[in-house]
Amino acid sequence: MAALTELEEAFTASQRDQEFFGELDDLRRTYAGRPTPLWHARRLSEHFGGPRIYLKREDLAHTGAHKINNTLGQCLLAQRMGKKRIIAETGAGQHGVATATAAALFGQECVVYMGEEDTKRQALNVFRMERLGATVVPVTSGSQTLKDAINEALRDWVANVETTHYVIGSVVGPHPFPLLVREYQKVIGEEAREQILAAEGRLPDTVVACVGGGSNAIGIFHAFVGEPGVRLVGVEAAGRGIDTGEHSATISGGEPGVLHGALSLLLQDADGQVRPTHSISAGLDYPGVGPEHSFLHESGLATYEWATDFEALDAFGLLARTEGILPALEPSHALGWVAKNIGSVGDLVIVNLSGRGDKDVESVKRALETGL
């Protein structure tokens, strides 16, 4: 707790510091490749024959996903706090790679916790992190996936808090993490808002993003929350189907609970034991969801829907063929939801394309060859 107070104080001070933001802004532009483009997906729009669809191209950011926005911010903050050791958790490996990248840039020691199951499924990302100088620790406890990697990172942090900063990968965990991660991700929505006004002269009817923990969704939603006429839709992973229980759609299928220091919705049994989850996309495979999403859901400021493994896989292929873009399986869920609801999204839609799909081609190949 003392560590969280220390973090909150350092974060609050940095939020008022022009120098900090100048440095972060410079890194975003000259290192991470921001602003990322807002692409009018004409052939995809034509395919649907309805609304104009724009893609916020976070897949073009350095390391291939929006994750770098957060890790650059947090590693810069860690440097400012005098912490030379960085730890992180990762599921598919995107956040781990983004953290290892930022830590290498700042010359920080980096340890990444990853479920042993995930280290096997994403062996190439383990190799990538190691080349970037990070130590990858396989987590053998529990279900050996993302939530267990977070458990292990929290255990490390508690033991080494005096020297170590924990770069959490999503808008989850104890305060101030959900706030801090949102502040580093909100650049997505700020850019998108400006870009759509420049391209279309008006705000979109619908903004769509996938939700696991929910960092890319909060990032793009934040600039539009409460805007009349703009519908915000978070798309969760329905896995093999909401009714099968084999999914990770926390808002659609969860109940209030406390995990990793935050009260939010949670996939759990009647006694509060956290349930195993499933999604074709490792990045959405988390039993909780950021507390701010629970709030947006309850207040009606955003709605939460879902897409199945199958629908995501379909959308993956569709975007590749119509636009020449291989999306990650995570935003493929957002696209999959748009595809099945094309009649009700209005005339102008932004989809947050949170990452590129190179990491997923093996999973897609396996799914197409052997079925889901």
Binding site: G142, V158, V161, V258, H260, A270, D271, Q273, V274
Partner: protein, 244 residues
């Protein structure tokens, strides 16, 4: 104060182990109700809680077992579990259940003092003790808040980090206890990393209670006859504490 995992290694053996702890001289028994994501626990206790959860242990059954253990041990029982278990059961309902089983208190390691108000009220209304944890990084203001909030005793964590067997006991425990003494007259028990009779004797020299968890669970894991093994270990710890 030995620690047992509720229902481990089997429900029957667990109840016998509770009695063995008491007959070997334990003053208080701590019982952990397993949770799927035990962030404060190290590998030894995780292995035990995972085994119990793989078999399945609904909270209703866990509470029944706590009652059976309390009855067979005949010494005060303190339950340790994570907040989501308590939250799902209901704060009032859970504290009343513990009271009706003649439990003395509950430790919720992932509940911070800043958020503990309604839980403390529920415990006091039910007549049980909300036991709070203190760490060497807590700082004077939070230590005071923790000492004010806790009842029964303060759980002083000897080291930063998770439960587990350690060969060297951190020197931080002594300093933390001294800091706590300056802000409270409530008893102070030291836990986490207290693994041997030598540790126990040392801690008993400056604290009011000694909590031994992983070393006991490990002893259960390393034998086919857990009841005599735990009886012997608790007896050894008891003697060491008496020698201080």
């Amino acid at each position: 104060m030995p620690y047992l995992v509720c229902g481990y290694p089997t429900p029957e053996a667990f109840v016998s182990l509770a009695a063995a702890c008491a007959s070997a001289g334990a003053d208080v028994l701590e019982i952990g109700i397993p949770f799927s994501d035990p962030v404060m626990d190290g590998p030894v206790i995780q292995r035990a809680t995972t085994a119990v959860l793989d078999r399945g242990l609904p909270t209703a059954e866990a509470l029944e077992l706590v009652g059976a253990a309390a009855a067979s041990a005949g010494i005060p029982v303190v339950v340790m579990t994570y907040y989501n278990i308590v939250y799902r059961w209901g704060l009032e309902k859970f504290s009343l259940a513990i009271a009706s089983l003649r439990g003395s208190g509950v430790i919720v390691p992932d509940l911070v003092v800043e958020e503990a108000g309604s839980w403390r009220d529920a415990c006091l209304a039910a007549g049980i003790a909300p036991v709070m944890l203190a760490a060497s990084t807590s700082g004077p203001a939070r230590l005071r808040a923790i000492a004010d909030c806790t009842e029964g005793f303060v759980y002083a964590t000897s080291t930063l980090g998770v439960t587990g067997v350690r060969t060297i006991l951190s020197e931080k425990a002594r300093g933390l206890v001294a800091e706590l003494r300056a802000v409270t007259k409530k008893p102070i028990a030291v836990g986490i990393g207290v693994s041997s009779a030598a540790h126990a004797q040392e801690v008993a020299g400056y604290a009011d209670g000694v909590i031994v968890g992983s070393a006991i669970v490990k002893a259960i894991q390393e034998t086919k006859e857990p009841v005599p093994a735990v009886h012997a270990l608790v007896g050894e710890l008891r003697n060491a504490v008496a020698k201080r």
